[in-house]
Amino acid sequence: MVRFALARFGAAVFVLVSISVLVFLIFFATPGVDPAARIAGRNADQATLAQVQAEFGLDQPLPVRYALMMKHLFVDRDLTSFVNRGVLVIPQIVHAVPVTLSLVLGAAVLWMVVGVAMGTLAAAWRGRAADPLIVLVGVVGVSIPVYWLGEVVNLVTQSRLHDSVFSWVPPLGYVPLTQNPAQWALRLLFPWLTLAVLYAGIYARVLRSEMMGALDEDYVRTARAKGVSERRILIKHALRCSLIPIVSLFGLDFGALVGGSALLTEVVFGLPGVGRLTYTALQNLDLPVILGTVLYAAFFVVLSNALVDLVYAALDPRVRHV
């Protein structure tokens, strides 16, 4: 298991380095594009261009440029946004990360709990009235666009019913956990729910079909022949085996969301997370910020995939011995 973990993280590091090289090549070595002009932003003056040239060593050979970029990113951490006149990129990301993590982690807990419960119940009640009902709820959850749901939630909780039922809902925005835990949770409550609705629906459906398959397996018949109770069969045998694919799905979704896919939710609820940071950077063509967030996103996707593989190996003994 330890060897497996080390091997897996070795692979993750390799993938990360490869991605950074790839991103570097796209940003600095796309033929026919002048990276200095791109980085400096629209209508940059000669002085800025020269500064960019020097800072990124654009007259140097590629490997040196790569090393310089890495140095700016990780050693000196002084990558600067030229569009925003001298705002440092790394601190911006460092500030945005806790927001996104808070949002995605909370929502993930919600959707895993709700999705797994719904999927399991639907499988347990297959053939009964409750099963199609749960499936229907799941489909509705899947089909509602997040930004629309977010806007409706805001409309209801922030203006229409804000004076009556929802008077306890704080204004939009983010309060750090360390500053005021209650406010942190309260402000994130509706973003969590909104984001979780979609994923809970997906997870419930996937888990339900996985469990239906598992319940037809021979090992379930064996368990029944042993005199094991239906509930134990459902949880200990069918659910336990069905969780394996759910975990890999979770890893992908979680990585992508932390990496910036929670963008819509962040924008709708005014949360200054990584998604929103990328979004504004894209609007301003703020290349250094985009560079930073892309690498950050890659880091989280790769990291969560590596973690998933470890959890996977812990869940499925067959994987451990390859």
Binding site: E217, Y219, R221, R224, A225, K226, G227, V228, D316, P317
Partner: protein, 353 residues
Amino acid sequence: MSEPLLEVEDLRVSFRSRRGTAVAVDGLSFSLAPGEVLGVVGESGSGKSVSMMSMLGLIRDPNCTVEGSARFRGSDLVGMADKDLRVLRGRDIAMIFQDPMTSLTPVYTVGWHIAEQIRVHQSMSKARARARAVELLAEVGIPDPARRIDDYPHQFSGGMRQRAVIAMGLANNPSLLIADEPTTALDVTTQAQVLDLLRRLRRDHGSSIILITHDMGVVSQLADRVLVMYAGRAAEEGPRQEVFHHPRHPYTWGLLGSVPRARAPRVRRLPAIPGSPASALAVPSGCAFAPRCRFAHDQCAERPPLAGADHLDACWLPRDRRHELRHSLDEVATAAGDPGQQSIIVPATEEFE
């Protein structure tokens, strides 16, 4: 005779579907004495598995109806509440299935499975259950059981897995073990070992065994009595010696005709009998075997009862002429240059067109 351990009477299992009602088991009756080994043979689809699983409440298909009775130590398994049946399953009646590859939950160790079997029915500490699991694995002949107990099913070979499954079945000293083709998926050597294990089980624990198989050879080695099933019904039932040496039903003749004579290489599966087995969706109202039987006559349009004292059969042919009739077939076969192989039964078309 002592009180039977299991007495099945007129068991009927049917599945409703859009294409009609499939009758998988159609009025099956037999009884099993304590310590007895009953071999159940018959072609694929003759209802062997369904009859056993229906008694144990293992068929969860909502379209399935089970009628009749199956009294185990006097209490009827058919219609018993699942929570009562569950107490019997795995404790008094253990059932093991054909494919050892898929019959263990892949994410748990072999020891976990055995411990689960023990702790479902007895309150025993985890440590003691584990110790008992090691004992059981040793008993079924797993080498180095104290170490192998922590292996996962995929680390066991097919034969070892089937042995582990048997160990699981034995965990609570069941008085009845139902083994549904326990050796079909295994190679010859492993097969012999597993059969040996079953034999020992009967000797040491005095358990009754119902052994479902396609393999007449297996039956002849192990069974005290033999039940021959065709289309969900009993065609013939009796002591092994009787059924093997004086078979009475033309279907049994077909099965036995296909068993090679002494010294010939062993055939492991029943070879195909000409014609196809009766479909469960349309079992003939008369004798189910009539469409494939060379001796079918007018009376066969009516369903023959299972008649006899200790050796029973369901056939209208006059009892005293059976030997002669069977013999006549052998001669026909020999004349045709096909000594005793698959020659007894002819396809339905010859008789009915």
